[in-house]
């Protein structure tokens, strides 16, 4: 059927000329508003930075007493300043940028804190933080820290020997590896609500690595309690490996018979392995590991095999393919 109809538009529907001409003015106003918004976007991060500096929980921790100096400390290195160690962190639970942890880690409540020990061990259970570390004297261990991103620091950790902790829980002969798990608490660790990494963060060591005298569980630095952004209240420090092996804010320790799937290996297995030993001759697929920038220094320095700790650790890897040890 053919319907003949008048056009829908009435004369009154035609946009008045004055309004039509205002379109340009509108666009110019819109452009001005866009520029204003852009300017605000440029300025806002600085305002946020100022606000973040006023937050609590990420500053100096309580002084630790009865800390004895360890003969295993690295000597002859200038210590990286406390400010740098606590403001330049990779801790994706608080965001992907180096300055995020210092700004965001105030959300973490490091006390009360529990650590659960499970798996192939005679002694298991969930322990309060103080109960967990109480049996062991605190030691200061000065270690180099080499990040997989080719920068490094020298940090005076305060910690307890991992080998003593492990011995206390009496792992059985089936325990071949130790798996560590970071706390999963998205309310306090906002990064855990994103899909940046699979959560919670997992790391692991072979039993002999965990029993190496250099491995410690750190609870402080510069004779003070660990600031949240450095992994409060307790974290792993294995100085001959890249920094990402040093799992922070540990909530679980498991004795297992399999090689743990550590988070960065799961994330990109072609770039990060299980062992992650510092090796200047095995490049990261995207950048060289031959040199590093020590925080606070201008010129790069050569990276040392096993981060300079070869004498204490190289024998553990005798006969293994060095390409598999990255």
């Amino acid at each position: 059927m053919f319907i003949r109809r008048a056009p829908d538009l009435k004369f009154s529907d035609i946009t008045p000329k004055s309004l039509y001409l205002r379109r340009r003015q509108f666009l110019q106003t819109a452009a001005g508003a866009a520029i204003g918004a852009a300017a605000a976007a440029v300025v806002s991060p600085f305002a946020a930075r100022v606000a973040a500096q006023q937050r609590q929980g990420t500053g100096h921790g309580a002084k630790l007493s009865n800390v004895k100096k360890s003969p295993l400390s690295t000597t002859g290195e200038k210590l990286t300043p406390w400010d740098d160690i606590t403001s330049y962190n990779n801790f994706y639970e608080y965001g992907p940028y180096k300055e995020d942890p210092k700004e965001q880690a105030w959300r973490l409540k490091p006390r009360p804190w529990t650590i659960t020990v499970e798996g192939y061990a005679a002694k298991k259970g969930t322990f309060g933080f103080d109960e967990f570390i109480k049996p062991y004297p605190l030691e200061e261990r000065v270690y180099r820290m080499r990040c997989v991103e080719a920068w490094s620091m020298v940090i005076p950790w305060v910690g307890i020997p991992l080998k003593d902790v492990i011995a206390a829980y009496q792992p059985t002969s089936q325990a071949k590896y130790v798996e560590f798990v970071t706390a999963f608490n998205p309310a306090q660790m906002p990064g855990e609500t994103t899909r940046m990494l699979p959560w919670p963060y997992v790391e692991g060591l072979r039993m002999d690595e965990a029993m190496n005298p250099l491995a410690i569980l750190a609870v402080g630095l510069y004779e003070e309690e660990l600031p949240n952004q450095d992994g409060a209240p307790i974290r792993l420090v294995v100085p001959w490996k890249y920094g990402f092996k040093g799992i922070k804010s540990i909530a679980k320790i498991r004795f297992v018979d399999y090689q743990p799937k550590n988070t960065w290996q799961v994330m990109a297995s072609n770039e990060y392995g299980f062992f992650a030993n510092v090796n200047p001759n095995v490049d990261h697929p995207r950048w060289s590991q031959a040199s590093e920038r020590r925080i606070g220094e201008f010129f790069r320095r050569k990276t040392l095999p096993f981060n300079g700790y070869a004498d204490q650790v190289a024998s553990m890897y005798a006969g293994m393919d060095p390409k598999k040890l990255y």
Partner: protein, 206 residues
């Protein structure tokens, strides 16, 4: 004063803010524990942002029909080049301190450095031929040459993506913006079929 002239001056001043903030932070000693990395990331972030902003001019012009905005395009493109140059010099001087052997090795062996270098050379070619004189002298070749900006946008994105351990939010923002401004062109070309070469020339370089 014409609005576009005023707008141009305002944007010129605004585009210098990131550089001014960087200088301010340097004077304050507030460039993080790793100043070289911070300067590298900041200048790189602004280079790629201005690249996207430059590519947004034509879509904005087409959508709004406000043609004078085209007068901002060269300046925005040159700001991308400005920050890319600072980014390059940071790598060249601060990061490697003229260690030519290491830099050559990086360019040859590290895809993200190769892509970064290629992007910078493309932007350099575009900046050098951005004068009125070049536009006149090169004629239609100029239009063809300046299509390199699309290639530069893609290589810059790959460079950014490969340079970081994870996909950072700032990359996601730039990626989405780049997809929008490049996608607009694809959509525009397919919806307005070009009837003849002559009209394509008068429409000019997108």
């Amino acid at each position: 004063m014409k609005r576009i002239v005023l707008l141009k001056r305002v944007i010129f001043a605004a585009a210098l803010i990131p550089a001014a903030v960087l200088i301010y932070d340097a004077v304050q000693g507030d460039l993080t524990a790793n100043p070289i990395e911070f300067i590298t990331h900041t200048t790189g972030d602004w280079a790629i942002r201005f690249l996207v902003i430059t590519l947004a001019v034509t879509p904005i012009r087409r959508i709004t029909g406000w043609n004078p905005i085209i007068q901002l395009r060269r300046m925005l493109g040159l700001f991308s080049f400005f920050y890319a140059t600072l980014h390059f010099l940071t790598w060249f001087v601060l990061d490697w301190f003229f260690d030519f052997r290491q830099m050559a090795e990086d360019i040859a062996m590290r895809p993200f450095i190769t892509l970064g270098m290629a992007t910078f050379l493309m932007l350099l070619a575009l900046a050098l031929t951005s004068t009125q004189k070049s536009i006149r002298r090169l004629g239609r070749k100029w239009t063809q040459l300046h299509r390199l900006i699309y290639v530069a946008m893609v290589t810059a994105l790959l460079h950014f993506w490969l340079a970081r351990k994870t996909v950072v939010p700032q990359f996601q923002v730039v990626l989405v913006a780049a997809v929008l401004v490049l996608g607009f062109r694809v959509w525009w070309v397919t919806r307005t079929k070009v009837p003849s070469r002559a009209s394509a020339v008068t429409r000019g370089h997108a």
